[in-house]
């Protein structure tokens, strides 16, 4: 691990003020950052510890929205009574991710910024445009079984590994960030960037900007929600394909539908194509299959991850079946 200076911030203003240059990293749970610092993939010159700045509460706002502090741990968010009752897709997604120990450490803000598990990104001996811009992509001709099939570019096919982000995409969460110029709000759909020709730029966060909150829209009381995660083992494994569903059905037809996918996209993948194929259509298997086909129409598999196309389709259809069969 490289030498760095360490500063403990007492509040958000101090944290933002201490983030003086682009080599500064905020450290919260540390589960991604320290892992990558040990591999010399992350080499910050300065760490600003934000664990003592507060922002660790969950608050229901007067208009019904739920405001989650950036430092709320994944386990606390998953087990929060309001999240379990009103946003079960988020609770399910969080509990499907990592291990109990890691969920006690990992934070809401940190999970939003979780880095890819692409083995070439994690290995400094290999070419990787995300880690070292312009060095090439070893994954495209390499071991790409777990990598993305949606939103890829000729420069990067790295998968966004988060489960939480997929649920937040289906729930249309809004992210509040604070920088030296003030605060701003960013819709989750606009927060993560496609790799394109600049895979090292993963979000719209500016240098020194700090995530302070994630806000969920008011609960949809009649909605059925499901997070379904398919993976190589039953637990403690990243998704090969996952689906987050928020659905409302009236008179046998979808009156509201949000579909987001994990494990297959270079960013948390909201599927407007699937939603268009479902809205106002009968909630039956034929429709589910149409939606699944639509969601994967633009899939671009690599040498070893072609199986993900059919896997993701079945994941969507199965998740929709589960959601619509809920009492």
């Amino acid at each position: 691990m490289e030498i760095f200076s360490y500063t403990r911030a007492a509040d958000a203003a101090q944290a933002v003020g201490a983030a003086s240059n682009k080599d500064t990293r905020f450290v919260a749970g540390g589960t991604t950052l320290l892992d990558l610092m040990k591999l010399d993939v992350e080499r910050p010159s300065k760490l600003v510890d934000i664990n003592r700045i507060g922002l660790d509460g969950i608050e229901k706002l007067a208009d019904g929205r739920l405001r989650v502090g950036a430092l709320v741990r994944n386990s606390d968010l998953a087990h929060h009574a309001t999240v379990m009752s009103d946003y079960p897709v988020l609770s399910q997604a969080l509990l499907a991710g990592a291990s109990a120990q890691l969920r006690n450490m990992a934070t809401t803000c940190g999970n939003l910024l979780q880095r890819t598990r692409c083995m070439y990104f994690r290995n400094t001996a290999m070419a990787c445009n995300k880690r070292t811009p312009g060095s090439g992509c070893s994954a495209i001709e390499g071991d790409n079984r777990t990598l993305a099939i949606l939103g890829t570019s000729k420069d990067c096919i790295a998968t966004n590994p988060s489960d939480m982000n997929v649920a937040l995409a289906a729930l249309e969460a809004v992210i509040t960030v604070r920088g030296t110029a003030g605060t701003r709000e960013i819709a989750i759909a606009d927060f993560h960037l496609l790799p394109g020709g600049t895979p090292h730029v993963e979000t719209v966060l500016g240098a020194g900007e700090l995530i302070t909150h994630v806000t969920l829209p008011a609960a949809r009381a009649k909605s059925k929600q499901v997070y379904l995660k398919l993976r190589d083992r039953a637990s403690y494994e990243f998704a090969l394909a996952s689906a987050a569903i928020v659905a409302e059905v009236s008179d046998g037809k979808f009156s509201y539908i949000r579909v987001a996918l994990g494990g297959v996209g270079t960013k948390p993948w909201r599927s407007h194509e699937a939603e268009a194929a479902l809205l106002h259509k009968p909630a039956d298997v034929a429709t589910f299959r149409d939606a699944a086909e639509a969601a994967l129409r633009d899939a671009h598999p690599q040498t070893e991850n072609g199986f993900k196309v059919e896997l993701a389709k079945r994941c969507i259809a199965h998740a929709l079946t589960r959601a619509t069969q809920q009492a």
Binding site: S5, R8, G30, S99, M105
Partner: protein, 213 residues
Amino acid sequence: MDGKEKALDGKSTGGVTRRSFLSQIGAAGVAVTAAPLVARADAQATPAEMAATKTEKIENAMRIKLSVNGKPVSLEVDPRATLLDALRETLSLTGTKKGCDHGQCGACTVHVNGRRINSCLTLAVMHEGDSITTIEGLGTTDNLHPMQASFVEHDGYQCGYCTSGQIMSAVALLKEPCGPADADVKELMSGNICRCGAYPNIVAAIQHVRQRA
């Protein structure tokens, strides 16, 4: 010469110090080479005495105060030291194990303020004022924690390397939301890997304690 080496040389007299050499090897190398020497030098000392008598100069050291197994401890640590390394190398509490050092195996599981975490993925300097419990703080050989006794009774290990992490996880699990079934226990214990494959006995040991609670 990479950036790290330059930085170290800039702060020393120009030569390669023992410390900078060990830093180059990395944490895993230090664990293998330094731990037995440290432990042997002060085998009878309490953790607090160990910290007080340690004379080796640590570059860029920071002082932190925390509680370990109910005792106040004041430590000088390299900001890069993980909580795991501080426990093992500085405090000689070697019951907590280093397995993968990347949060993938759970051998390093300890409790921080009553919650289980992977001590390999957190820096010691991040734990000012925290209360840490390690396997050494659970029970003694004459007075085992019920979970330790249950692991013995159910033969919940073979080589034993993962056992302290398994037990720290299992004790934390008792206070977490967890369904009654074996499958629920397996899910919440999935962050602790056992290469010997003692899983059925581990689950039995945990269920035994849960059912008697």
